[in-house]
């Protein structure tokens, strides 16, 4: 057991001066932001902008060159297990042991997060996400939408204060995507902080309370979606990017990051 200086109003995630290198290449440059409780914070950027590197540093999967990352007041570097105990993660390409059923996977992660779950409780959880008939199925046998529901359940099994979601709606049909948005908004209402990376402007506008646009490893804009649109509507690059006259978040994004395709 350990205590942090975190209070109900302290950000659930604080990133200060984050720098990430892969060899000589600097993928993340002096990135700073925070996520408040009861907030969905979006990290937008083109391919290779540094979103996943930033997220991986927060998750503790890679060691940054410098910077401070705190989850609910716990340093990811000095108290990694405490930080991880307070965050739930939905990776971009989640994979679980292919031999285990989804009920067994839920039991495994409940055990790892220290949550005691009876078999009946597992069935209740699966019923909540309409998968009670699939409890004996393997993860790979589920559809994309079903997999995302299971991944989200596992990410939130321990009721974390911070939830990290890496492009969670990629590959989902519109219904599944809307369902996931509703679940995210439900979690926000409960006071969880969510850090979301996405390529989708529609998603960013639909669910995010604040957005950071990251390009070439640096945050180039950070505010609410509407404020970003208002602040950049007179930017010539943004106007040039706009279609049909109305400035959208996508126009702001293209105007700030350019039209070149990133590999």
């Amino acid at each position: 057991m350990d205590s942090s200086n975190h209070t109900p109003h302290t950000p659930v995630l604080q990133v200060e001066g984050l720098n990430v290198y892969y060899g000589a290449f600097q993928a993340v440059r002096n990135v700073s932001f925070h996520v408040n409780p009861g907030e969905i914070f979006g990290l937008l950027g083109p391919n290779g902008a540094g979103k996943t590197s930033t997220l991986s540093a927060v998750e503790g999967l890679l060691k940054p060159h410098s910077g401070d990352i705190r989850v609910v007041g716990y340093s990811v570097k000095d108290k990694p297990l405490y930080a991880r105990a307070n965050m739930g993660v939905q990776l971009q390409a989640t994979s679980f042991q292919p031999e285990l059923t989804i009920a067994e996977i839920i039991q495994l992660y409940a055990g790892i997060y220290g949550v005691a779950l009876s078999k009946e409780r597992v069935q209740t959880i699966l019923a909540d996400i309409k998968l009670q008939e699939s409890s004996g199925k393997r993860f790979g046998e589920l559809s994309g939408g079903q997999q995302q529901r299971v991944s989200l359940v596992i990410a939130t099994i321990h009721n974390p204060q911070l939830l990290l979601m890496d492009e969670p709606t990629t590959g989902l049909d519109p219904q599944s995507r809307r369902q996931l948005w509703e679940r995210m908004e439900g979690m926000r209402e409960k006071g969880h902080g969510i850090l979301l990376t996405t390529h989708s402007m529609e998603e960013a506008e639909a669910v995010c309370d604040r957005i950071a646009i990251i390009d070439h490893g640096q945050i180039i804009a950070i505010d609410t979606p509407q404020a970003l649109i208002n602040d950049h509507r007179d930017n010539p690059e943004v106007i040039r990017a706009s279609r049909k006259g109305k400035i959208t978040l996508e126009d702001v994004f293209i105007g700030l990051t350019g039209t070149a395709i990133r590999s």
Partner: protein
């Protein structure tokens, strides 16, 4: 704000339950690991009178240990790393060593099962009978010997990321170990190779297990073989940990 993190024991228990379930559901592969040395044991029945039960049994046990460490362990690690299973575990409050301890416990169990099966088959079908002390020390030395091959498997997954390449490499190394080890020991490949094999991981493990089965024959050479085996384990483990990357990229 206070956070309770689950104890290492609870995390280990949850992981072990999942890893044992995974191993059970892959039992076809596990059966093969036990079947190959069993078939060798049965086919070598004629050599028991010539070379002794301990020689035959220790060779078969060493073949099984090589399969468990090189093929079973390293292939499962490489596959799970490639699928991103470790990435998912590592974003949870499960320390790296707890994740690995669970995996190694399963392999330890496989070593115990394999060795016990060979003891039983050797007794029933090859009339190989050892003292209780012999069986006990034989089992313990098999566990120590298994550690060499597990650590060598760790080196391989540390050096190679692609699971198909790991699979091919471990099969090659397994085959080389068995062929050179068995024939080298029998002197078929010449005196120099025979001497080299004697101090290779195959030779030291085989000798240690063989003498463990007949403790009265324990001598300085056996003690040296034990120390060299431990030395191999330490070196391979250090290299395997240093080179191992949890990420598939």
């Amino acid at each position: 704000m206070t956070t309770n993190i689950p104890s290492n024991a609870n995390v280990y228990t949850a992981l072990l339950k999942a890893d044992l379930t995974t191993q059970w559901r892959n039992r076809r592969a596990s059966i093969l690991v036990v079947l190959v040395p069993t078939i060798i044991l049965l086919s070598w029945k004629g050599l028991v009178d010539k070379f002794g039960g301990a020689f035959v049994l220790s060779n078969c046990i060493t073949v099984g240990l090589t399969a468990i460490g090189l093929m079973g362990y390293s292939n499962s690690i490489a596959r799970d790393r490639d699928k991103g299973i470790f990435q998912r575990l590592r974003v949870a409050p499960a320390s790296n060593w707890t994740i690995m301890a669970s995996r190694l416990t399963v392999q330890l169990l496989m070593i115990i099962i394999m060795t016990t099966v060979l003891f039983i088959v050797g007794y029933k079908y090859d009339n190989i009978s050892m003292s209780a002390q012999g069986y006990t020390i034989g089992l313990l030395t098999a566990i120590v010997g298994g550690a060499v091959y597990l650590s060598l498997g760790q080196v391989i997954v540390g050096l190679i990321k692609n699971p198909e390449t790991v699979n091919a490499t471990t099969r090659l190394v397994y085959f080389a170990f068995i062929m050179i080890g068995m024939f080298g020991e029998l002197g078929v490949l010449g005196k120099e190779i025979g001497e080299a094999v004697k101090w290779s991981p195959y030779g030291t493990v085989k000798h240690m297990v063989g003498t463990g089965l007949t403790p009265s024959a324990w001598d300085t050479h056996t003690t040296m073989a034990l120390l060299v085996t431990i030395g191999y384990t330490i070196v391979f483990t250090a290299l395997g940990i240093k080179w191992f990357r949890w990420s598939p990229k």
